[in-house]
């Protein structure tokens, strides 16, 4: 199953209560994905720095690893460690590929989970309530957010295999996916031949890698999602967000649910309407996305 949710504030500064909203939506879909829960939150923009979030280990007992990381990167700003993650900021002109490689070379458990001017990914095994209790995601404000509750079908249950996925090396790009990419192995082989590293055996990871590749070639996000309909087989409802854009795509057989609503203030998209209704009071209409539908919003 899996549940995916997304919220996009169309107006205002980066002070929308995206953490609270996305948590409310995720809680309603907890039953669709009891294995893990995660969010991708887009806060206030600041092009002068990147926020780096690093997985130190799968769970607890990682204080010494946090200290090890802090010692190796003394120039970073605002270093903090909470549960399984370290978080810090680096200069906005940093070479992200080199930085990630340097961090991940320190310890086999280290994985850079997200880097962006605005993006922060927080995910772990367990329920949305666990995620809130550990990281207090409801406090976070910003402009837009994605969320995912996972029911694993083909790959292991741990933090790295949870969603949202960041496309390693490409700042501020996050995806959540519900479904199966059936030509995953073929695509993965092709990317690996080109030197792309996969961090997990989760087929959803290839969606993030695919979209980053498309965006690197210079196309728009809408073009990339439309090409995805041609290049990725299987069942998928996907939400994708960058620093300033938010969109979705539904597969060519409409095999997975996805509903949306749009008002003057916001766009909300979710696997089930119950997620939208339980987090966002007010009068609006909700509809199912049609087959092959691609939508992108910008701010």
């Amino acid at each position: 199953m899996c549940g995916i949710v997304g919220f996009f504030a169309k107006q205002g500064d980066a002070q929308a209560e995206i953490g609270r909203t996305i948590l409310g939506m995720l809680r309603a879909l907890g039953c669709r994905g009891p294995d893990s829960a995660g969010v991708a939150l887009f806060g206030a923009p600041d092009d002068n720095r990147f926020i780096v979030r690093v997985k130190l280990g799968e769970s607890g007992g990682v204080e010494s690893k946090a200290a090890q990381l802090a010692v190796h990167f003394p120039g970073v700003h605002g270093f903090s460690a909470t549960a399984a993650y370290a978080r810090f900021a680096v200069n906005g002109s940093t070479d992200l590929t080199r930085l990630s490689a340097a961090i991940e070379a320190l310890d086999k458990d280290f994985e850079v989970v997200s880097i962006g001017h605005r993006l922060e990914i927080v995910k772990q095994t367990g329920s949305p309530d666990n995620l809130e209790n550990t990281y207090g995601i409801s406090r976070l404000k910003g402009t837009h957010a994605l969320g995912h509750t996972r029911l694993s079908t083909e790959s292991r249950v741990d933090l790295s295999h949870s969603q949202p996925f960041w496309s390693h090396g490409f700042p501020d790009l996050a995806i959540v996916h519900n479904g199966h990419i059936t030509n995953y192995h073929q695509l993965r082989r092709r990317y690996e031949q080109r030197g792309v590293r996969f961090y997990t055996e989760n087929d959803s990871e290839v969606v993030a890698i695919y979209l980053a590749g498309q965006l690197q070639e210079g196309g728009s996000l809408k073009d990339a999602l439309e090409r995805m309909l041609r290049d990725l087989d299987g069942s998928y409802s996907c939400l994708v967000a960058t620093g300033g854009e938010f969109g979705f795509v539904k597969d060519p057989f409409a095999l997975k649910p996805l509903v949306m609503t749009e008002t003057d203030q916001f766009v909300a998209v979710a696997t089930e309407e119950i997620a939208i209704r339980s987090a966002l009071p007010g009068k609006y209409s909700v509809r199912e996305a049609q087959v092959k539908e691609v939508r992108v919003w910008q701010r």
């Binding site: 409409a254 509903v259 309407e273 119950i274 209409s285 909700v286 509809r287 199912e288 996305a289 087959v291």
Partner: protein, 232 residues
Amino acid sequence: MAEIACAGRAAREINAEIRRAIAAGEREVVVKDPGARHNIAVGILDPVTIRILGSVGYFCGGLIDGPRIEIDESAGWGLAESMMNGEIVVHGSVGNGAAAAIRGGTVVIHGDAAARLGVSIKGGTVVVAGNCGYMAGFMGQKGRIVVCGDAGDAFADSMYETVCFVGREIAGLGTDAVVEQPSADEITWLDFTLAQHLPGSERCGADFKKVVAGRKLWNFDKREWKVWQEAL
């Protein structure tokens, strides 16, 4: 009239209360704040009216035989699935597989329908005021599907004796689907059906295209191998 509030309650409790109200002799039940919950009013077998003030989730009104269910806003996947008789009216839009495998009764959708509307329909009537999505009518065996707006791709694929009517454009016909002119009787039926279920609609039965099975897939004939290659 019985009023049932949904806030803070599970679908099982809400459904039990609907059934208790009907058993106590109520002919009209109003369900408030459904919040898009799943499985509301499934398997109701009495000729009562159930008004749902809001949106419902999956499988609303499945397996019913007799009631009239009116939904103020939208409905999720599997609306009215396998219903035997009765009427379901949705004022918003519906998710995938609405009216799948119904055997009788009427489903009226004032908004749009998503994919697989009325697949494997075995009787009854489906009326959509807006558009319908991908693969509507797939493998329909009997019954009628009326779409006042546009129909999506793979429309009326691999059907038996279901008859579909489309008021505007068809994005693409499914395998073995054939467009015909409706007969005078069918135009009269369309005018009557539109007047009954979509009063105020200015659509006219004569504007509709009729889509039926070309019957090429009903019996295997090796001389028609190409048709089968495309279908399978």
